[in-house]
């Protein structure tokens, strides 16, 4: 085997580890989320036991302060987390990548204006943005939370895309491709997007985690999904007062959140290594 071929197979092996763990963590979350559409251990809205019961065979994770089954709440939270994360990233990616690419091509003045606008938007607290969105749409719902988070993410994504795209556009292979007659649109789709994707996807995974966490704060302020939509963030907030007497109420949603965020990051890492074959050699 030539050195090149060895490094290729070593690369594939390493991918597969990060990818497998990531796929398992995200996969479990996804399966649970889908399952809750059809079945949950108990009624998520009504008490099914005493208040703050310790874990038992009937209630594997115990009950919350209203006597509802905690495992049920946690499972519904998985659905909310995925919905928030995926929805916010989808909005953020669509708006952010388009804006960023346009900014990368813009003339000096337009580019400066865009860069300054993005910096202001990024400095703007997500919470304030969420309040504006809620105010504009008259009521708080899961969707206004997702929209607000998506808009906040789009500013961050746009700024990153702009920097990455500018760097790619300076590369020799762009000029080389242009000399053979590739149009600017062709350059964007064939060279710029594939070359910035590995870095962008990692950022998406990071933003995904932040969005899920941010949704918790929004819920707490009444700007997120109103009850009965259980979310891990709200479970965490609700468990605050009883963290010493019933710690499982805080530990369980905390662990679930960490597992999903880590899973997303591993998945993105694994996918990035596939998208960027040049990385295999240097590590």
């Amino acid at each position: 085997m030539s050195p090149v071929e060895t490094s290729v197979s070593a690369r594939k092996r390493r991918h597969s580890l990060a990818l497998t763990v990531g796929l398992v963590l995200v996969g479990i979350n996804l399966s649970v989320a889908v399952l809750t559409l059809f079945w949950t251990p108990y009624d998520p809205l009504n008490a099914s036991g005493g208040r703050l019961e310790a874990p038992s065979l009937l209630h594997w994770l115990g009950t919350d302060r209203l006597g509802r089954d905690l495992l049920t709440q946690l499972m519904i939270g998985a659905r909310t987390a995925l919905l928030v994360g995926i929805g916010a990233i989808a909005i953020g990616a669509m708006i952010g990548v388009s804006l960023g690419v346009v900014a990368a091509f813009a003339t000096r003045l337009a580019d400066d204006v865009m860069a300054a606008t993005l910096d202001i938007l990024i400095a703007f607290p997500t919470l304030l943005l969420a309040m504006l969105v809620v105010a504009a749409s008259d009521s708080a719902s899961l969707w206004t939370a997702i929209l607000a988070l998506g808009l906040a993410i789009s500013a961050i994504v746009a700024r990153l895309t702009r920097i990455l795209a500018k760097r790619v556009l300076r590369q020799d292979y762009i000029v080389a491709s242009r000399t053979s007659g590739t149009s600017w649109v062709g350059v964007v789709f064939r060279h710029v997007l594939p070359n910035i994707w590995p870095t962008l996807s990692i950022n998406f995974a990071l933003q995904f985690g932040l969005a899920v966490i941010a949704e918790a704060s929004l819920s707490y302020l009444g700007l997120g999904a109103p009850p009965p939509n259980a979310s891990w963030g709200r479970l965490l907030q609700e468990a605050q007062g009883t963290v010493y007497t019933a710690p499982i109420g805080a530990i369980a949603p905390g662990l679930a959140l960490v597992a999903l965020v880590i899973g997303m990051n591993l998945l993105a890492d694994g996918l990035r290594d596939i998208a960027d074959p040049t990385r295999g050699r240097s590590r």
Partner: protein
């Protein structure tokens, strides 16, 4: 015969600094011209100007006619119809001139597809695949199956330059602009690539603008040379004449340097 590339009074400057001054030369179909000069003399600038791809911060005046179309001041859309069709370029550094994240087969397929569509032919996957293999054969790349599925960093420098040449050939340009295509390669590979370029240019009958700082290299593939110094053309003529009876002191030093290099090789090497 009308000129394929006609450069008249070309001046290129950034701010007040002239990079190329009042340069004029003509390349007719099938002609092979060498542009030589030391590093920084403006050779690459001239090549980029000919395809209308200089950055907007660089001002171009004078006239460049490529295949009957005025390049200076032309809209990008107009130029884009000319790029690849009238002229294609092979660059000095084959690693950076290829997209690191695109498999080589796909990179060659791109200009092939564009040309097939341009000619009104069918750009079916099969037709493109066949052409890509043909081109890989033409530039004598070994193991076509592996090369097609490799990324640029997975093949050698010489092989990368063969890929770049294949991509340029895929366009079937009327003129090939080769900007120091062998400088980044070792001496043996350099000789092979030169031979390949020479053979391909003769076979296809396309014109050649060969850029180099190395007079003996240029002499192998062109008929006429233009010597550039600090952006000025200081000497022009048939390659033999310039080589044997250089007029300008600068050209003399280029010839002398080449002779000394050859001698050094002769005494220490074979």
């Amino acid at each position: 015969m009308t000129a394929l590339l006609d450069i008249r009074g070309l001046t290129i400057r950034t701010g007040d600094k002239p990079l190329v001054s009042d340069l004029s030369f003509t390349i007719r179909p099938g002609e092979r011209i060498g542009l030589i000069g030391e590093s920084g003399s403006g050779k690459s600038m001239t090549a980029m100007a000919a395809t209308g791809l200089l950055p907007p911060s660089i001002a171009v005046t004078g006239s460049i006619t490529l295949d009957g179309q005025q390049v200076v001041g032309a809209a990008d859309k107009v130029m884009n119809r000319l790029r690849g069709v009238a002229a294609a370029v092979v660059f000095q550094e084959p690693l950076t001139a290829l997209d690191p994240l695109m498999k080589i087969g796909r990179q060659i397929a791109e200009p092939v597809r564009r040309r097939l569509e341009r000619d009104g032919g069918t750009a079916s996957k099969d037709a493109i695949g066949r052409e890509v293999r043909d081109l890989i054969d033409k530039v004598a790349l070994p193991q076509p199956d592996r090369i097609i599925n490799s990324y640029p960093h997975e093949v050698s420098g010489g092989q990368r330059q063969r890929v770049a040449i294949a991509m340029a050939l895929a366009c079937r340009p009327k003129i090939l602009i080769a900007d120091e295509p062998t400088t980044a390669l070792d001496v043996t590979t350099q000789a092979e690539i030169l031979k390949l370029l020479d053979q391909l240019v003769r076979e296809t009958g396309m014109a050649l603008l060969f850029i180099s700082h190395d007079l003996p290299v240029v002499a192998q593939v062109v008929e006429r040379v233009i010597v550039l110094k600090n952006g000025f053309a200081i000497e022009e003529g048939p390659v033999g004449t310039v080589f044997d009876k250089p007029h300008h002191d600068y050209t003399k030093t280029l010839v002398e340097a080449a002779r000394l290099f050859d001698e050094a090789l002769g005494t220490t090497g074979s």
